[in-house]
């Protein structure tokens, strides 16, 4: 596009240069004048007029031609070239043919600038459309990526939550297995004092056969053995009481240990629930934070895209406006130049006509020009 623009600008500049050259040539071309000079004043004016662009050689040729024309007029021989010259100038002015090239140039200028303006507008519209499409596609892609990101985030959260649930279930089983094992071990543990009891010592009356053989009754011996038995029973009872107390203590300790297991199971189960709740909450907060961050990023990117579109559109509008202004200025400048050149040409013809009349040239009858 820039290349095209440069191309057009070069074409416009070339046209301006060409037009400028033509203007100089048209307004100051000595060949178009061909006016005879017979007086010093005319010569000075002529010198001043031709001094800018005509070469010295061409100036001399024109002077010779003018002098020849003046001499022919003075002698009265043949046709009067001054009169012809005067009438030709008059025809040029009244017929307006001198302006045709300027009108054509103006038309060409307007056509060229019109085409350039059309191209500029088309390019502008294409650029605007392209920018809109580009940013629209970017916005669509951004929205899709954001949606996918949110979906991935949610999927990850769901997976993590499911994993946490599975781990929680497994942990619950571990707690119960651990406590069940401890409980079974304690319940299966025999009381150390369970079988502890006094070994009964029951003495029998000794030497009964001997007593009987000696014709001595053994009743007293039997009675004595009974007394000892009673004493022994008292002693055994005390020991058994002691064993009973120790057994009770051990049993109470065992029940206490089992109660401790229940307490531990309850505490661990509650702790597990708290842990799961805490981690679940942490996960949810993480998800929320990630979603928020993603939303902020999405908003920021969307804003950047909008800003970029606005900036690019603004730049395109500005460039379009500047180009249009440049084109309009170029057209205006070209039109002014053409008009000035045309007016200059007209003025030059009038000047030449008046100069020819002043030298004695006779114009056509009627309106002078």
């Amino acid at each position: 596009m820039a290349e095209e623009k440069n191309k057009r600008q070069k074409a416009i500049d070339a046209l301006k240069t060409k037009n400028s050259g033509k203007t100089t040539s048209t307004t100051r071309s000595v060949s178009d004048i061909n006016t005879p000079t017979s007086t010093a004043t005319n010569k000075v004016q002529s010198d001043q007029f031709y001094a800018v662009s005509a070469s010295k050689k061409e100036l001399d040729r024109l002077r010779r031609e003018a002098a020849a024309a003046a001499a022919a007029a003075k002698s009265g021989s043949g046709r009067n070239p001054l009169n012809d010259y005067t009438k030709q100038l008059q025809s040029l002015l009244t017929g307006g043919s001198y302006g045709k090239s300027y009108d054509a140039l103006q038309s060409q200028l307007e056509g060229m600038y019109g085409t350039a303006q059309t191209d500029l507008t088309n390019n502008y519209n294409t650029d605007i459309s392209g920018a809109n499409t580009l940013y629209s596609n970017a916005q669509t892609a951004l929205t899709a990526r954001n949606a996918q990101g949110l979906a991935d985030l949610q999927t990850g959260y769901n997976t993590a939550t499911a994993d946490l649930g599975n781990l929680n279930t497994q942990a619950g089983k571990t707690i119960n297995a651990s406590m069940d094992s401890l409980q079974a071990m304690l319940q299966g543990q025999a009381n150390p004092y369970a079988n502890l009891q006094a070994q009964e010592v029951n003495p029998t009356a000794q030497l009964s056969s001997f007593l009987n053989a000696q014709n001595v009754g053994d009743q007293q011996a039997q009675d004595y053995a009974q007394v000892l038995n009673a004493q022994n029973a008292g002693s055994s009872g005390a020991f058994n009481n002691l064993a009973g107390v120790l057994r009770s203590i051990a049993g109470a300790n065992q029940q206490g240990a089992l109660a401790d297991v229940a307490t531990q199971r309850d505490a661990s189960t509650r702790q597990l629930a708290n842990s799961k709740q805490a981690y679940g909450s942490q996960l949810a907060q993480g998800l929320l934070a990630d979603k928020l961050k993603m939303g902020q990023t999405y908003d920021a990117n969307t804003f950047d895209l909008s800003k970029g579109l606005l900036s690019d559109t603004s730049n395109l509008n500005q460039a379009y406006g500047q180009n249009r202004q440049t084109y309009n200025q170029g057209l205006l400048s070209g039109t002014q130049n053409v008009a000035q050149d045309k007016t200059g040409q007209q003025n030059a013809l009038i000047t030449q006509l008046l100069a020819a009349i002043a030298k004695g040239g006779v114009p056509k009858k009627g309106k002078l020009f």
Binding site: T174, M179, Q214, N253, Q264, R265, Y279
Partner: protein, 149 residues
């Protein structure tokens, strides 16, 4: 919440084995002591029987020589003397059996005490271990790496 990483499973095993060894040694020692006590009691019972068996004829002979016993003679002194003799043996036998029984009883009491102490120590260790496992599970330690902690 206990820090599960501080639980020393190696130390747990060592302490458990040490307690088991200590209790096993004391139980074996006690069993042997009980055997020795029983053996000693049996030997003493044999000695008592032997002493009284040997003394019985001399006792009768003494009463006979003093005319307190013999064919057609049976004095109250003789009867009481023989009864006392029989009661002395009953006493000796009873004392021997009772002593042996009480010695063994005491050892069994100590055995039970040792077992009770061992059980308490063992239970404590097992409770620490299982509680640690439960607390580890309850803290969801395995979840922490997923949180980047």
């Amino acid at each position: 919440m206990s820090d599960t990483s501080n639980f020393d499973y190696l130390s747990y095993g060592q302490r458990k084995r040490a307690a088991g060894s200590q209790y096993g040694a004391s139980a074996a020692k006690s069993a042997y002591s009980q055997f020795l006590a029983q053996q000693r009691g049996n030997r003493q019972a044999f000695d008592i029987n032997k002493q009284f068996e040997q003394a019985a004829p001399r006792l009768v002979s003494g009463y006979t020589q003093r005319g307190l016993a013999g064919p057609g003679v049976q004095s109250g002194i003789y009867s009481r003397g023989l009864t006392d003799f029989a009661n002395q043996k009953t006493d000796a036998i009873n004392a021997n059996e009772l002593g042996t029984a009480r010695d063994i009883q005491q050892m069994r009491l100590e055995d039970a005490g040792n077992l009770d102490a061992y059980n308490a120590q063992f239970n404590q260790l097992e409770f620490e271990k299982q509680s640690n496992i439960a607390n580890t599970a309850a803290s969801l330690t395995a979840w922490k790496p997923f949180l980047g902690a």
